[in-house]
């Protein structure tokens, strides 16, 4: 697997996959996609990078431990659920705001935050498993 072509292409492939994963995540509410599938795409992208270049570059690029990313995701998902408590509606009720950013109406919601949390959990958990398995010294 350690061919020059693969090693050269892998970073570009990973970058594309990460970008695509975010795209899939954001379009999820209206078209096929969402946090779970987006997370899987991102995780495979990172796994490819790890196979091509070894795990150390991936760890450096991620900055956080993958499990930390998963934990942040779970935390965000919980927060997204709890926000509705402050609006005096039951836990996990979706709340929407549409602020105007540069004259564009951007619909933002707790649901989106929740989906982002799902995305991070999937990326973090799968990447940490993949990276742990890719380590060769064990």
């Amino acid at each position: 697997m350690n061919t020059v072509i693969f090693r050269t292409l892998a970073p570009f492939l990973t970058a594309l996959m990460l970008l695509f994963s975010v795209f899939v995540l954001l379009r999820g509410h209206n078209e096929p996609g969402g946090g779970f599938i987006g997370g899987l795409i991102a995780a495979s992208g990172l796994a490819i990078y790890g196979i091509a270049r070894g795990i150390q570059p991936v760890r450096q690029a991620l900055w956080f431990h993958p499990m930390t990313i998963a934990a942040i995701g779970l935390f965000l998902a919980c927060i997204a659920g709890l926000i509705s408590m402050f609006a005096a509606v039951p836990f996990m009720t979706g709340l929407w705001i549409t602020p105007s950013l540069f004259a564009i109406e951007a619909p933002l919601s707790t649901v989106m935050l929740f989906d982002f949390g799902v995305y991070l959990v999937v990326v973090g958990a799968i990447t940490s498993i993949a990276l742990a398995l890719e380590r060769e010294d064990i």
Partner: protein, 781 residues
């Protein structure tokens, strides 16, 4: 009223806030953090003092917030004479204990942690005695067990501490579970979940066929917590904790939680024959056992611990005795005991801290060096000995008045109380006098008076014991009478004063004190006798606990060996056999076989091609020469299924399936490279046949099941609902995604928590392999 309620709520939260602040404050201020931290309990004390006028008028203050209204669960409190007395004792003694710990653990590297634990305990204890709702009572009850575990095991490097902590947790936590069961039965019988409402259901419960079950379960909780025989053994072991903990948890507050519970439920459960038999019997037995064991000890803290056991026995005896003055006696003795025992424990700790030993035989002649400590000890001991005009005297007079009577039962229990008290008087004076008078004995450290932080607590408590006795006409209407009324369940006025007046009770008191002092003269001989007695018996519940724990561990070991042989093959076989059975049995049982599917006339070529590809994948798995090829072939089969999903209008599902298949191939391949397996799967035929049978059964089961399900009538209710509302109220056109993140978002939250946990588990499993692999290499060399 609203602000009052909010303030009370804040008062219940304050200890926990203090626990959060403690480590930081201690890092900045060192041991002087005790002063600001003592403000937390002091503020609570001040707040609850404000309830005195209302409660002394006989009113019951309730308040709280709804929590889960659909299950009738609330965070609510009930403050009457009983709760308030406990609240004041906990916060008042708590203030002194925080200051005392500041001096006692000065310079300890984990002093901040200690403050944090003890404040947490305080919060739990306050919540326990003020709880109105059953659930809150139980939660706080267990929370006191847990914080007590942390505090006993504070010195966690010593094995004795760890054992004592575990023992206390097992005994009191287990008792808590019994209490939970008891509360649930009460809830079932009456339908109420609040203590304040329960009071009017007394008749109903006592007449219920479940009364005895309720009683035994509640007593299981109370007796373990309050260290009644035969569960008394954990309390002396808990003396492994630092002395502030012993003074606070294991004499003044936590161990009284069981007594509190019995007093609280006395109007509801009390007055029956079982109640008035079991409680006095166990209480009296505990009193005698505790007193005899106390005499036997030479360690100051252990002597005090066993007298605490004895006193708790006396309190249980009084709570269950049911005579006219019993409630008043229990009330007075409860308050008196908290004051003098807290003080004496702190004195013991002070002696230990300043001299380096707390063995009574190695202490002597310290009166000149430690005058303040000596004074506090003597005042507290006089109260414990029950001499006028101390509060302890009032308690003892009332006890003898309550127990006094002409019948055999009264005489028997009076005799028990007198014997117990004589022994306690002897122990009290032994502790207060022996270390301070007589010839000087060389101690590990040169003795000198402790700092303010250390002597403030015992002095304040012992002076309180004196003041409460002198000002009894002032204290009774505020504290004693409401407390006694709450215990008895009817208005009671406590009138006992410190002025001795001729009565049988006074005579008994005089006998007690005289005999106690007489015993003091021959203390060493008494100790030897008690020691011999205990040694002759040999086996005790403490050793029984060890035997129980060893047996439990052995049993658990055997059971898990049986259920978890550690063979992956066995696990997988069992799992898949169960899957096959779950799929096939209902079909057989109910005769719900599906009709054979009809070959679709309009099958397109590309659809058939995809199915052929899937079959090719399966064939590849079966014929693969090595494992890696099999994994790849399985991936091909998965991709074909994903394609089918795509063709038949489930893009989300197919999308996910693609990614899952890709990742499973990658991860399986990575796992294979690490497992050092033979590349070929070389199973003998004898194993291949049953494995294949299980696999075919599973596949057939899924196939038949799916066929049957799709042949049933399709209920479009949910589909219609989601189609209708997905865009309208959840602003999303992709129904699948809307269901995942919005309609059933809580499910997803649970699922991602599972993903995270699984990830952590896998990660740790991979890391565990490391040493095993190294060992393997070494053996191969």
């Amino acid at each position: 009223m609203q602000t009052d309620m909010a303030l009370t709520f804040v008062a219940f939260c304050l200890p926990f806030l203090g626990a959060l602040a403690a480590p930081l404050l201690t890092r900045i201020l060192g041991h002087r953090a005790a002063w600001p931290l003592a403000l937390f309990p002091a503020a609570i004390l001040w707040h609850f003092t404000g309830f005195l006028p209302e409660v002394s008028r006989g009113e019951i203050v309730t308040g709280g917030y709804d929590w889960v209204p659909s299950y009738n669960v609330s965070f609510s409190w009930l403050i009457d004479g009983l709760s308030l007395t406990f609240l004041l004792l906990i916060s008042g003694i708590g203030t002194l204990i925080i200051l005392y710990s500041g001096g006692y653990l000065r310079g300890h590297p984990h002093q901040g942690r200690f403050f944090s634990f003890i404040l947490m305990f305080m919060g739990a204890m306050l919540g326990l005695v003020a709880s109105d709702s059953f659930l809150m009572l139980f939660v706080f009850w267990e929370l006191t067990s847990i914080t007590s575990f942390l505090l006993i095991g504070f010195d966690h490097a010593r094995e004795a501490s760890r054992r004592a902590a575990l023992q206390a947790l097992v005994v009191t936590g287990g008792g808590g579970l019994l209490l939970l069961a008891g509360l649930l039965v009460i809830w079932n019988v009456t339908g109420v979940t609040q203590l304040s409402l329960l009071l009017s259901f007394g008749e109903e419960i006592r007449a219920s066929p479940f009364y005895l079950a309720i009683l035994l379960l509640v007593l299981g909780g109370a007796f373990t917590k309050s260290a009644q025989f035969p569960f008394h053994f954990w309390l002396p072991n808990a003396m492994e904790a630092p002395t502030p903990v012993s003074a606070y948890l294991h004499s003044a507050t936590m161990v009284k939680a069981g007594v509190y519970l019995l007093m609280r439920l006395n109007p509801v459960l009390g007055g029956t024959a079982p109640w008035e038999t079991i409680l006095p019997a166990f209480g009296g037995l505990t009193l005698l056992v505790g007193a005899v064991l106390a005499i036997r000890q030479t360690d100051l803290k252990l002597m005090l611990a066993y007298t605490t056991v004895a006193s708790l026995g006396l309190l249980v005896l009084l709570t269950g005795f049911g005579s006219e003055h019993a409630a008043a006696a229990a009330a007075l003795y409860l308050v008196a005991h908290s004051l003098f025992k807290g003080a004496l424990f702190m004195v013991a700790g002070l002696l230990d801290h300043e001299t380096g030993t707390r063995h009574i035989t190695r202490l002597g002649g310290l009166g000149r060096a430690m005058p303040i400590t000596f004074a506090a000890a003597v005042l507290a001991a006089l109260s414990m000995g029950g001499l006028p005009p101390f509060f302890g005297f009032l308690g003892k007079e009332e006890v003898y008045t309550a127990l006094g009577g002409g019948d055999l039962r009264a005489i028997a229990f009076t005799a028990a109380a007198v014997i117990g008290n004589v022994l306690m008087v002897a122990v009290a004076f032994a502790i207060a006098i022996k270390p301070f008078l007589g010839a000087k004995v060389a101690t590990p450290k040169t003795p000198h008076e402790g700092p303010l932080l250390l002597w403030l607590g015992p002095v304040v408590l012992s002076v309180c014991g004196l003041a409460a006795g002198l000002l009894s006409s002032f204290v009774h209407p505020l504290i004693s009478s409401p407390l006694a009324s709450a215990i008895a369940g009817r208005p009671e006025a406590v009138t006992m004063s410190a002025m001795p007046h001729a009565s049988v009770a006074l005579l008994l008191s005089a006998v007690t004190v005289a005999a106690g002092i007489g015993l003091l003269a021959g203390f060493d001989r008494a100790r030897a006798a008690a020691d011999r007695l205990v040694n002759d018996i040999g086996w005790g519940p403490d050793r029984g606990f060890d035997q129980f724990m060893t047996g439990l561990v052995r049993f658990a070991h055997r059971l898990s060996r049986l259920l978890q042989p550690g063979l992956m093959e066995a696990y997988l076989t069992v799992t898949f056999v169960m899957v096959a059975l779950a799929l096939l049995l209902p079909l057989v049982w109910y005769g719900e076989w599906p009709r054979l599917p009809i070959w679709p006339a309009d099958a397109q070529f590309h659809e058939l091609a995809v199915m052929a590809l899937a079959l090719l994948g399966v064939g590849g798995v079966l014929t693969a020469r090595n494992r890696l090829n099999a994994i790849l072939a399985l991936g091909i089969q998965g991709f074909s299924v994903a394609l089918l999903f795509l063709l038949f209008g489930a893009p989300d599902l197919s999308f996910t399936q693609f990614m899952v298949e890709t990742l499973s191939v990658v991860i399986l391949a990575l796992v294979m490279t690490r497992l050092h397996l033979q590349p070929r799967d070389a199973r003998p035929l004898a194993q291949k046949i049953p494995d294949a049978a299980v696999a075919i059964a599973c596949g057939l089961g899924f196939c038949l099941y799916l066929l049957r399900v799709t042949q049933g009538r399709f209920d479009p209710l949910l589909t219609d609902f989601f189609n209708l509302y997905s865009k309208a109220i959840a602003h999303g056109a992709n129904v699948v995604n809307v269901i995942i993140v919005d309609f059933r978002g809580t499910d997803t939250l649970g699922e991602i928590a599972v993903v995270m946990t699984t990830g952590l588990a896998i990660l740790s499993l991979i890391r565990i392999r490391k040493p095993a692999a190294e060992n393997g290499k070494e053996t191969r060399r």
